[in-house]
């Protein structure tokens, strides 16, 4: 199981270590640093590294490497999932998962890690349970604590810990009972040079914010549940009900959580809401090139495409870019060679365009690779797959909750090849 955890920042300093079994010397991280050096880019460090006596399994989150040390055969996915859970918990507790946040709350971090893992076995990873055991820091509480001498640690057994619904604590009470669902869909797509779709699929999630008193039992049904054939559920969902009736039936955790995630596969037709016209060319034996990109709406179901941002990783030989845009602003970072064009909203009457010249290093040969365009956008009030919530029913409690559903479509990994 998981032996130790080291937190390493981008400059290669170990700023926290925690051991659940024997103490493993920091020097084991040298193998990690070696791999890091070899990888050149932080994102390319291989997640599983073997050393003579240990295995290092790491994740990279928010500019921090979470490096875990294991010694026996352990499912790597188990370790990786757990590390992400640790990062999520930090995020949840401190508002951000950063080196400063962790250093500022080092004792809580230590208490959390101790609570999450025992002898390498996960103990409590649900945020509800953890928060009952160890209270998140707030300015008010730390002031109160220092005056009254009370502690920020619960001294009774969290109720959810052993019940069949470990994700919910007992005795929840709200004056306003509300349940909100956000249906968020991301389009992953690769569009080729000619504008036809090489690959497209929709990754959807339903994120929920449930603030309901007591033990509500909810049923959520859809207009077109047929769309959902590849779904991952939060443990709270009763799988049998879904299998037989295509209804999501569950006792929700308290607060924010992800109810389901789903994939609308490439077999179904995926609507592509924007198109891009582009010419990026470099002349042979010349130190300049042409750049001309226009973006326009396509299948957007009558909604506005907004928050459009185009990023392009230009070839290494590009020195500078001299462009004019009809809309929005652009920046080019000559160090990392990234062009970012913040377009904003697309209005069909006047299509946004960015064009001009590219200056190449003198003497450099014509770049071979064609840069890909990475597109981000957002469409409010639309789930591009067509998924629609039908109704939400609540059983088990008497009050009448306030219900809300919001739809949003975003670009995920949306790439246009040139």
């Amino acid at each position: 199981m998981i032996h130790s955890l080291f937190l390493v920042n981008c400059s290669g300093d170990i700023f926290l270590e925690k051991h659940w079994k024997r103490v493993v010397s920091q020097s084991v991280c040298d193998y990690f640093f070696e791999a890091q050096e070899k990888a050149a880019d932080v994102e390319n460090v291989p997640p599983v590294i073997s050393t003579p006596h240990h295995y290092l399994i790491s994740i990279y989150r928010e500019k921090i490497f979470f490096v875990s040390v294991i010694q026996t055969e352990v499912p790597p996915l188990f370790v990786i999932e757990f590390l992400h859970r640790v990062a999520d918990t930090f995020q949840d507790y401190f508002g951000e998962c950063s080196e400063t946040a962790i250093k500022d709350n080092v004792v809580i971090v230590y208490e959390l890690l101790e609570e999450m893992l025992d002898n390498g076995f996960p103990l409590a990873t649900e945020s509800n349970i953890l928060k009952e055991l160890i209270k998140p820091p707030t300015i008010l509480r730390s002031v109160v604590n220092s005056i009254t001498g009370s502690s920020n640690m619960g001294d009774t057994l969290p109720t959810g810990q052993l019940s069949n619904i470990p994700w919910r604590r007992a005795g929840v009470k709200y004056t306003n009972n509300e349940a909100y669902f956000d249906v968020i869909e991301e389009i992953d797509a690769i569009i080729d040079k000619s504008g036809s779709t090489v690959f497209a699929e929709i990754q959807g999630v339903i994120d929920s914010c449930i603030k309901l008193s007591g033990m509500p039992d909810l049923s959520l049904s859809f207009m077109n549940p047929r769309l959902l054939d590849d779904v991952s559920f939060h443990p709270c969902i009763r799988f049998k009900r879904w299998e037989s009736e295509r209804v999501l039936s569950f006792i929700p955790p308290d607060g924010n959580f992800r109810l389901i995630s789903y994939r609308v596969s490439s077999q179904n037709l995926v609507a592509i809401p924007v198109y891009v016209k582009h010419t990026i060319s470099f002349k042979e034996n010349n130190t300049s090139g042409r750049f001309d990109v226009t973006i326009g709406p396509k299948q957007n179901m009558g909604k506005t495409v907004e928050a459009v941002i185009v990023t392009v990783h230009m070839p290494k030989a590009v020195l500078n870019m001299n462009l004019t845009s009809t809309q929005g602003s652009y920046t080019f970072d000559p160090v990392i060679k990234v062009l970012t064009w913040d377009v904003g909203k697309i209005t069909p009457q006047k299509l946004p365009n960015l064009k001009g010249t590219v200056n190449l290093q003198s003497g450099a040969s014509k770049p071979e690779e064609n840069p890909s365009l990475n597109i981000q956008f957002k469409i409010q009030q639309l789930a591009i797959s067509g998924l629609k919530v039908n109704r939400l029913d609540m059983y088990g409690e008497k009050y009448k909750p306030f219900k809300g559903v919001k739809y949003i479509t975003k670009a995920g990994k949306f790439q246009v090849r040139t």
């Binding site: 390319n44 291989p46 699929e201 990754q203 991952s232």
Partner: protein, 938 residues
Amino acid sequence: MTDSKYFTTTKKGEIFELKAELNSDKKEKKKEAVKKVIASMTVGKDVSALFPDVVNCMQTDNLELKKLVYLYLMNYAKSQPDMAIMAVNTFVKDCEDPNPLIRALAVRTMGCIRVDKITEYLCEPLRKCLKDEDPYVRKTAAVCVAKLHDINAQLVEDQGFLDTLKDLISDSNPMVVANAVAALSEIAESHPSSNLLDLNPQSINKLLTALNECTEWGQIFILDCLANYMPKDDREAQSICERVTPRLSHANSAVVLSAVKVLMKFMEMLSKDLDYYGTLLKKLAPPLVTLLSAEPELQYVALRNINLIVQKRPEILKHEMKVFFVKYNDPIYVKLEKLDIMIRLASQANIAQVLAELKEYATEVDVDFVRKAVRAIGRCAIKVEQSAERCVSTLLDLIQTKVNYVVQEAIVVIKDIFRKYPNKYESVIATLCENLDSLDEPEARAAMIWIVGEYAERIDNADELLETFLEGFHDESTQVQLQLLTAIVKLFLKKPTETQALVQQVLSLATQDSDNPDLRDRGYIYWRLLSTDPVAAKEVVLAEKPLISEETDLIEPTLLDELICYIGTLASVYHKPPSAFVEGSRGIVHKSLPPRTGSSESAESPDAAPSGAPPSEQPAVIPTQGDLLGDLLNLDLGPPVSGPPVATSSVQMGAVDLLGGGLDSLMGSTSFTAPSTVVPASLGAPLSGGLGDLFDLAGGVGTLSGSYVVPKTVWLPAMKAKGLEISGTFSRQVGAISMDLLLTNKALQVMSDFAIQFNRNSFGLAPAAPLQIHAPLAPSQTVEISLPLNTVGSVMKMDPLNNLQVAVKNNIDVFYFSTLYPLHILFGEDGKMERQMFLATWKDIPNENEAQFQIRDCPLSADAVSSKLQGSNIFTVAKRNVEGQDMLYQSLKLTNGIWVLAELRIQPGSPSFTLSLKCRAPEVSQYVYQTYETILKN
């Protein structure tokens, strides 16, 4: 007010100051001080000097302070064992606390204090906590048993904690069950022999119930444990599968993958005719694809596993090619894995898409990725014949880009394409030759040289091209040197008139100026061949090469089956069985897939399939180029094989004179002067002798020394194998086991691409080298071949014990047959037991293991028997004469380490012997007796 303040200290003695604060009367100050200590600890500072002061703070009713002190204790107790004893009392007291949280905390912490003296005090509280009324305490205690076992395994066994732990599997609380399973699994890992997780249908049922109710982590433990269970029939397998399937929709990817493992394993038992089998296949695809939308680290592990799954059951993901398309900002490790899977999924149906993608990738920035993409195009050409033409033209386009590494990769793969489709694409050679100068990597240079040599007759200036390479001969890598040597010899054989000087130059460079023995040896072999019999040289060097197989990088089926059992583990990431890399894996039990039961179809087991049955979807694996013997003479790109060259053509080794006859006349007036002065002393006699031996070994099977060899019998009649007749026998010589085969082509069609595989068998017999038949087998031709065997293959008990199931593949089909091997090929040369040992062992083996046999009609004397048996590694330990009877005491040892002791009673004048055998594995006795019979009667 943040914790970073704990890091700032005044300059004057930090430790000193903390000490004072820890001993303060004010609770709040104490707590702050402990926090400071913990903060220092987290960054690896040594604060062990404060041990007594911190431990003093332990007696408190403040839970936070208590937890902090415990944190400290766990870290430092090991370095201060005597002081740690001070804490014991508090622990014992806390284990009685009315608050379950405190009881659990105490038992949890105690297990983390790795001090021997303390563990003894831990036993009683732990026993109580294992039976605590509160499930939270029980589940914590379960983990504590695993901790204690890690510190002192003996103690855990003596105290009977393992049994208590086993009882917890039937606990009413699912979380307790999950933790008990986790603890037992961890203990079992260091104790592979102990049958800790003794699973039976009842306990499986309990686990399946707990599976639905416990936490995600508990589900992983339970699923991994389930995967080790062997259902008794297909119905049980199906019912487990049905209950595991809902886990595929879990949000935690580790749960999903563990569920996939259970399903993949148990599916093996389901009949393919079942509707449920098809349903299950369909259900497996979506969760696997979903894993690919997770974080890159998860994707990586998922992809490594999908790679295995795709090889085992390609049908699951055959329609999902597109999800493996690479995004430009995927991390490199994800890109490379995706590419691998794309090639595996490539088929005629999707090849156009795949090629378009690969071409796109070949213009990316990342060099490693581009290279692999180019290589992938070549592999597509080899895999999907219909696409070969398109692939070649794509590669030519890429060569036009003149990007150095792209060109080099392209040339390497084009060489493979030439080998797969001879006489089809040679028109591109001219284009390749244009890029000769830009090649600077050994592999690409070697490939180019091979092409020039192989097609010398079509390239007008082949000699000039090769000559340019020859200039820097000594600076080249071995790979290139070997290739250049072979290429020039080929050139010489094709165009002898213009290239004498060149071949002479390269031979002298290789034999005299090089320190590399492989190069020298190969040089001499060529030299001798050329000088003695140019016709034979032509036959050997220009022999037709076997076509390369489609997929050279498939994982060997038995290993693949084993790896399928390890889905989701580190083994699946490394594609190696855990025994190959896990430290301290003492006697890890090899896992294997369950056999399919209860159905008409059993494609995977050759014995049930009628011979001539269609080859199952498992492609026969042809080893990679480096191993093929033909390589020595043709295409040695891997590490050179210095092993026995097999030349089936009869090479006359009689003429020792290197300069003799043939070559002289061929070369006309040119003469080799240099070697005649250098060679004879070092080379003449010994070399020819050595070479002679080599050829001897390969040519015929020496039967002079070594065990008795049963005459060859027909194993596979021609009518059952579309004209291929195989007869053979087994032999053992100086420790080397081999299978001597006679392959006869009785069909009207040329046969080629031979390969052989064994099914798992009782003693792990497996081919030690691939089946090496260079030239295609012409109609009515017979080839004799000796296949070396080893006993490190996977083991499965067969009935009869010495049954061996063999699959032979050729260009026509795959054929199966089974044969019985005589057990004495497994008798080791080290089978002679010491006299004392013999006596002790004989007594030690229980009498019920003794078996008696009669050997009749064998008119041999005791000495003759003894020497005859000795030849087959049955050693006589002692001989005695008791009441006029000769008693021979004999021993032998099987390759898997089993000793067999024998007592042979011989009555002078009577032709019947009595044989008593004793062995710890009595089932072998019968076969040993058969062996005695065969050896003595022949």
